[in-house]
């Protein structure tokens, strides 16, 4: 399996306090990595680092085998302004091709074909002429996922993709992401709050916790002291 992304001894500081210290991990093609951790543990800072929008204070983030920073299909968290944005689904999905444009101002026929392809891939053909603001939360996430696929063929970076979705739609979303990973071999990095779902679907877990972060396969995580603490803790809470 080829390496796509490698972090070596990376530290990030935020407002002069180090949030991530000496972090190393590696993502291979086809991996499904969940990044978990409490609020303020540096998940969004690391996300910005992976996207190349923020340079680490120490260490290196290396993208390999032709993965460019602007070719990571990013699914950001939704902003309140977006929810009632007047744009139809095709306009939104097509905007994922922006990174292929450079300084050329207009989309090509190929860009439009790729957008249509990803619309079919996510089963949202019926929504194409609908307005983004008239869609349900789950439909909006699918549209943004199609846009992310237009931007990145190899790797998706999903920032808490199920926030605000009801349980059934959340499960659908997880299944869809899982299919993209298992059937189509797309590498997934997901920032998540949901440790149970992370353990269920991910192949690898990165648990951010200051200088005592954990990185390893999901099996290793469950057996590790940290995983036992957080995971079994949540499980017993659920059983109560």
């Amino acid at each position: 399996m080829e390496e796509l992304l490698k972090c070596e001894g990376v530290s990030f500081s935020y407002e002069n306090t180090g949030v991530i210290k000496n972090l190393s991990f590696c993502v291979h093609s086809g991996d499904y990595l969940c990044i978990v951790g409490e609020n303020g543990s540096g998940k969004s800072t690391l996300t910005r680092g992976i996207l190349g929008l923020k340079s680490p204070a120490e260490g290196k983030i290396i993208r390999e085998n032709g993965l460019k920073a602007n070719e990571i299909g990013y699914l950001p968290q939704q902003t309140p302004a977006q929810k009632d944005f007047p744009a139809n689904v095709f306009e939104v999905v097509l905007s994922g091709r922006l990174n292929s444009r450079g300084f050329r101002p207009f989309y090509s026929a190929e860009d439009k074909e790729i957008a249509v392809h990803n619309i079919h891939r996510l089963g949202i053909e019926e929504l194409v002429r609908r307005s983004y603001r008239d869609l349900s939360g789950g439909q909006q996430q699918r549209v943004l996922l199609a846009r992310a696929l237009c931007a990145g063929k190899k790797m998706l970076l999903l920032d808490e993709p199920v926030t605000g979705l009801d349980p059934i739609v959340t499960e659908d979303m997880y299944k869809l992401i899982n299919e993209l990973n298992r059937k189509e071999g797309i590498t997934i990095i997901m920032v998540s709050h949901d440790i149970n779902a992370s353990v269920k679907y991910a192949t690898h877990i990165l648990h951010l916790n200051g200088d005592k972060s954990f990185f390893g396969t999901t099996d290793e995580y469950i057996k590790s002291p940290m995983g036992r603490y957080f995971f079994s803790d949540e499980k017993t809470q659920l059983e109560d």
Binding site: N70, T79, F85, P86, N88, E91, G96, F106, D134
Partner: protein, 278 residues
């Protein structure tokens, strides 16, 4: 009433041409500003513009040459405030607006007094469009339309989702700055005719009105331009015919169109709700 007769006057031709171009600029820029929740920037800038024009008129400086740099600098500053979530952006903009207004009025009363110039900076005047202003309007319109044609897709991406646009390598900050800069110019050039108290309506009304009915980015942009041009022309004719203040007449037409669009939009929504419920 003879429509053609009123446009035989030179000042009316200038007002029509300059005003139409400014209205179109304001409408195009307004779609992006309103959707990014930056509407208040337009309002803040118009007050800063008034302060600068009042000081220029008191100190006998060339009004536009003095006001344009000040408003442009304020535009960058207000944009920074709005992008920085730590400062309460709306409160900061309100502080800046009222301070600029107060400084302007004080400077004016201390020097020239509240003369016609100051009055027209506040409420607008149909007579204010000079030959030079028209040239400025043409240049500005060319800049805004070239930007919207060449960078349409980037403007859409940055307006819809700045995080995603940045992640895919679009320098969102630059587009925000260009939009703020062009907005500043539009406001300064437009405020002599519209008045500083009303110029921001040219930016906000067409976009908000269009969004009542239209649901794609492209249609909202086209509709805003049309609404803005029609409301401006109607307002100008009303202003001439009934000797009402130009800016106020245009805003009232805009309000009227907004109410019609809101009612129509509500009807369409109800019909769609039934359709999708089936």
């Amino acid at each position: 009433m003879d429509l053609f007769e009123m446009f035989e006057y030179d000042f009316m031709q200038r007002a029509l041409l300059g005003g139409l171009l400014i209205s179109l600029c304001a409408a195009l820029l307004g779609v992006s500003l309103v959707l990014k929740r930056y509407s208040m920037i337009g309002d803040g800038l118009s007050h800063v513009g008034f302060g600068a024009l009042a000081i220029a008129s008191g100190a006998n400086l060339a009004p536009l040459e003095f006001a344009i740099p000040i408003v442009v600098v304020s535009a960058f500053f207000l944009l920074r405030i709005s992008e920085n979530s730590k400062i309460k952006g709306d409160a900061a903009i309100a502080l800046i607006s009222t301070s600029a207004l107060a400084i302007g009025i004080t400077a004016a009363t201390l020097t020239t007094g509240m003369n016609t110039d100051i009055n027209s900076y506040l409420f607008g005047s149909i007579l204010s469009m000079s030959q030079n202003d028209v040239v400025l309007c043409v240049v500005l319109f060319i800049m805004v339309s070239v930007m919207f044609i060449l960078f349409y897709n980037k403007i859409f991406a940055v307006t819809f989702d700045e995080s995603f646009a940045k992640a895919t390598g679009t320098r969102a900050g630059i587009y925000n700055m260009i939009i703020a800069l062009l907005t500043a110019l539009t406001i300064v050039v437009g405020m002599k005719m519209m008045g500083s108290l009303l110029i921001s309506s040219l930016i906000i009304f067409p976009a908000i009105t269009s969004m009542r009915i239209f649901r794609s980015f492209r249609s909202v942009i086209i509709s805003s331009a049309v609404i803005s041009a029609v409301s401006f022309t109607a307002g100008l004719i009303i202003s001439y015919t009934f000797s009402t203040p130009t800016g106020a007449s245009i805003v009232i037409v805009n309000l009227f169109v907004f109410l019609i669009f809101t009612a129509t939009g509500a009807l369409i929504d109800r019909r769609n709700a039934k359709k999708y419920a089936k």
